[in-house]
């Protein structure tokens, strides 16, 4: 196997690849990247047995062949090469080391046998659709903060992607992304892309979401999504990300979304989130609540720490609107910020009482809905 590629192209591909490769070194081959030159095309593959990433590169293929080399080391080397360098990879086959040359730099890397490199079986992926990269990005960004890290409820460790029946005022079924950790829930939807109609509801693991999100950074075109009940595959430009899905049942989240919360508070996002940040600064303890004391067109945010002291900020008429009965309710500051970070301009809270789940919406974007559990204050 022999190829020539410019440093920038190779670096970009290796950056995608190396973050998937296993770092914990329990199975050595999983720390390696599979390099294949076949019929004039180069492909790089990494897998941790849960996720596999394959990237195709248009390169100056010189000689067909394949080998595997440590992904992290290869990435570090290429990263440190000078800009504009041309990199040559040369492997004579078998156990022979992989030679990497660039200008007057040369290295020789130990390889592991290609036959030992595990291939993740995909099986058939009967459902497929295309979705614009910015739309998929929106689904992910506005839900992933709510993904749980709790191991015991593994079925919450991802985003639940599924088809939702049309609700009142909606033209047809929607593609929905939902995540929750029990304390907060994020539900974002978009028009159902053609071809997605019959797809099963699937839970996409957090690591997959994070890897996918990195790929979407640079993408503007459509992303191809193909899936079965156990696997999902995203094709973003020249990169193909395949992942196992979480084998579990996502909770019936619709039952916990309150329908009748009628105490409506509206406040500018920036006013609100800045005030939360200032008030919460009194306490380093993340679990301390920020208290919202709400009265007619008045919102007082306050927080107290037994060691540090107290803090308070008022937002009054002109900046908040509220005309229901007075209410006091507490939330974790970080949870408030995670939600308001997703909101462009104006935030709408719909409360029931100080112990019941609160609904939060982006006034300008009906596609997103958040639910937040209050804390005792």
């Amino acid at each position: 196997m022999k190829l020539k590629a410019d440093r920038a192209t190779l670096l970009k591909a290796l950056a995608h690849i190396q973050s998937v490769a296993e770092k914990r070194n329990t199975i050595p081959i999983l720390a390696n990247v599979l390099i294949v030159v076949k019929e004039g095309r180069l492909s790089l593959t990494a897998t941790d047995m849960e996720i596999a990433v394959v990237e195709q590169i248009a390169s100056g293929a010189v000689r067909d062949g394949a080998t595997t080399a440590p992904a992290a080391v290869l990435y570090e080397i290429v990263r440190k090469l000078p800009d504009g360098a041309e990199v040559e990879l040369d492997h004579s086959g078998g156990d022979a080391p992989l030679a990497l040359r660039a200008g007057r730099y040369a290295t020789s890397l130990n390889v592991l046998a290609v036959d030992d490199f595990p291939s993740m079986t995909t099986g058939s992926l009967p459902h497929s659709f295309r979705i614009p990269a910015p739309v998929l990005r929106g689904l992910i960004d506005r839900t992933r903060f709510a993904i749980s890290t709790e191991e015991t409820r593994y079925y919450l460790n991802g985003i639940y992607l599924h088809v939702a029946e049309a609700a009142a005022g909606e033209a047809g079924p929607m593609l929905r992304a939902v995540a929750t950790d029990g304390h907060r829930l994020a539900r974002v939807q978009t028009e159902l892309p053609p071809g997605a109609a019959g797809m099963p509801g699937v839970i996409v693991p957090r690591k997959t979401i994070n890897e996918l999100r990195k790929l979407l950074d640079e993408a503007a075109d459509d992303v191809e999504v193909a899936l079965s009940e156990t696997r999902i595959q995203f094709t973003v430009g020249s990169v193909m990300l395949t992942s196992k899905l979480i084998d579990g049942t996502f909770p019936e989240y619709e039952r916990v979304i309150p329908r009748d919360n009628d105490k409506i508070l509206r406040v500018g996002k920036k006013d609100f989130s800045d005030a939360v940040a200032r008030v919460a600064a009194i306490s380093q303890e993340r679990s301390r609540p920020v208290k919202l004391s709400i009265d007619r067109n008045l919102l007082i945010l306050s927080a107290a720490s037994p060691d540090q002291g107290t803090a308070k900020e008022e937002l009054d008429e002109g900046r908040v609107s509220y005309d229901s009965t007075p209410l006091e309710i507490g939330f974790q500051a970080r949870y408030l910020n995670d939600i308001t970070d997703q909101i462009e301009k104006d935030v709408e809270f719909a409360f029931s009482d100080s112990a019941a789940p609160t609904v939060v919406r982006d006034v300008d974007s009906p596609s997103a809905l958040y639910v937040l559990m209050p804390m005792r204050v």
Partner: protein, 424 residues
């Protein structure tokens, strides 16, 4: 010898400057006198119930008073607690039951009744809280009290109030306690051990000299491993640590060295903090025959989860996570832990979390013991609150409350979950 203050443990009479030669209380002629130069000035107390579980059992069955009593389980179990009669015959807690019975064949073995002990512990705590709000429970039978500033309130020095507490506990709860009075928590704990049971130990400025001649093992926190490590450096007595400067101690003993040297001198800066109780709430069982299969282990685990849920509720606490403990046939202990999203006291939720930990350990190994504990321990009011990922939570809470009500009225076996029943 200058005259020192003396306190009578029976009538709480205080003689601020008693004749050093007096052997009996000037008031009631009792010989249970405590004498110490700083007796009237010290404010930190350590209270330790004597052979707590056994004392509670003897209180309820007076005919056992003179007999050796062991609280613990089955022939394969271990001694959870031994009364002083049994201790004089060489029985120690944590000793395997068969070994204890060899030393003490006439011992009366009683299965532990934790709800009873918890109730007694709570009553004891209530009495202590009448002396000062600064009561920090360290375990079911131990607590430390900060009584600084209470003399004005009670019109008596802490020492006298503590002696009164000991009498009240004997009268009202039917058990005995030992008390240590000192300037800090470490010395108070050591003082409480000075003449157990029914003891009243005092350590003050004399503590450093007293500690100097003691073996290093005396310090809480120095276990057999640390003792061995110190011995390799020629250190066996606390006196050898006392003189070390912080720098020397660190060079000799590592990062923990300065701390160790300070404690060897009897210094301890820990405050009494009622909010910082380091309780552990758990339940475990030793099998009659070793078990390796998942189904049998899970059945035991379920029963333990029910017990743990009850103990958490009794202790007004909840579990922020669970710790699973398994002991293999070869006495190797495996512990595995998992955090919960929201704290719980529901047996079902404890079980769900613990079972996931258990499943990974079922690998053909034969186990002799399984246990489950709550960690961290959180306030009860945070438990099983509405959870966005568990719409059935209110129903589960209501179901458990119904079960508890039935059991309160008709006994433990009145209602059983299907999973508690033996399939075999």
């Amino acid at each position: 010898m200058p005259d020192t203050p003396v306190l009578c443990l029976d009538c709480q009479h205080v003689e601020p400057a008693a004749d050093a030669a007096s052997r009996r209380c000037a008031h009631c002629r009792s010989h249970r006198l405590v004498r110490h130069a700083e007796l009237l000035d010290l404010t930190v107390a350590h209270v330790d119930a004597d052979a707590f579980y056994c004392s509670v059992e003897k209180r309820d069955r007076p005919e056992l008073a003179a007999l050796p009593v062991l609280v613990g389980g089955g022939t394969r179990g271990v001694v959870t607690a031994a009364c002083y009669v049994a201790r004089m015959r060489g029985v120690r807690s944590a000793m395997p039951m068969w070994q204890a019975l060899k030393a003490c064949p006439d011992a009366v073995v009683i299965r532990p009744d934790f709800p009873k002990y918890t109730a007694a512990s709570r009553a004891l705590r209530g009495l202590m809280q009448q002396l000062t709000p600064l009561v920090q429970s360290l375990s079911i039978d131990e607590a430390v009290l900060d009584m600084a500033g209470t003399e004005a309130l009670h019109g008596a020095p802490p020492a006298a109030m503590l002696a009164r507490l000991a009498n009240r506990v004997e009268r009202e709860l039917g058990i005995t306690i030992s008390i240590g009075l000192a300037p800090n928590r470490l010395l108070a704990k050591l003082a409480a051990g000075l003449d157990k049971p029914r003891g009243f130990g005092v350590l003050g400025a004399d503590a450093r000299q007293w500690l100097a001649g003691k073996p290093v093992r005396l310090l809480p926190g120095i276990g057999p491993a640390q003792e061995k490590r110190l011995a390799t450096r020629g250190i066996t007595r606390l006196g050898q640590l006392q003189g070390l400067s912080a720098r020397e101690a660190q060079a000799l003993l590592g990062d923990d060295g300065p701390h160790l040297a300070a404690r060897a001198r009897g210094e301890d800066g820990r405050r009494v903090d009622p909010a910082r109780e380091t309780r552990s709430i758990s339940a475990e069982t030793t099998f009659n025959a070793d078990l390796a299969d998942a189904a049998s282990l899970e059945r035991h685990l379920w029963q333990l989860c029910e017990k743990l849920g009850g103990r958490l509720r009794d202790g007004e606490a909840s579990a922020g996570g669970v710790v699973l403990k398994l002991k293999t046939q070869r006495f190797l202990t495996r512990t595995r832990a998992a955090r919960l999203g929201t704290p719980t006291v529901l047996p079902e939720r404890l079980f769900d979390a613990a079972r996931q930990l258990l499943v990974r350990e079922v690998d053909g190994t034969a186990f002799r013991l399984i246990g489950i504990g709550a960690s961290p321990i959180l306030p009860l009011q945070d438990a099983d609150v509405a959870d966005l990922a568990d719409p059935s939570m209110p129903r589960r809470v209501a179901a458990q409350a119904a079960i508890d009500r039935l059991r309160d009225r008709f006994g433990k076996s009145a209602v059983q979950r299907g999973r508690a029943l033996d399939q075999g």
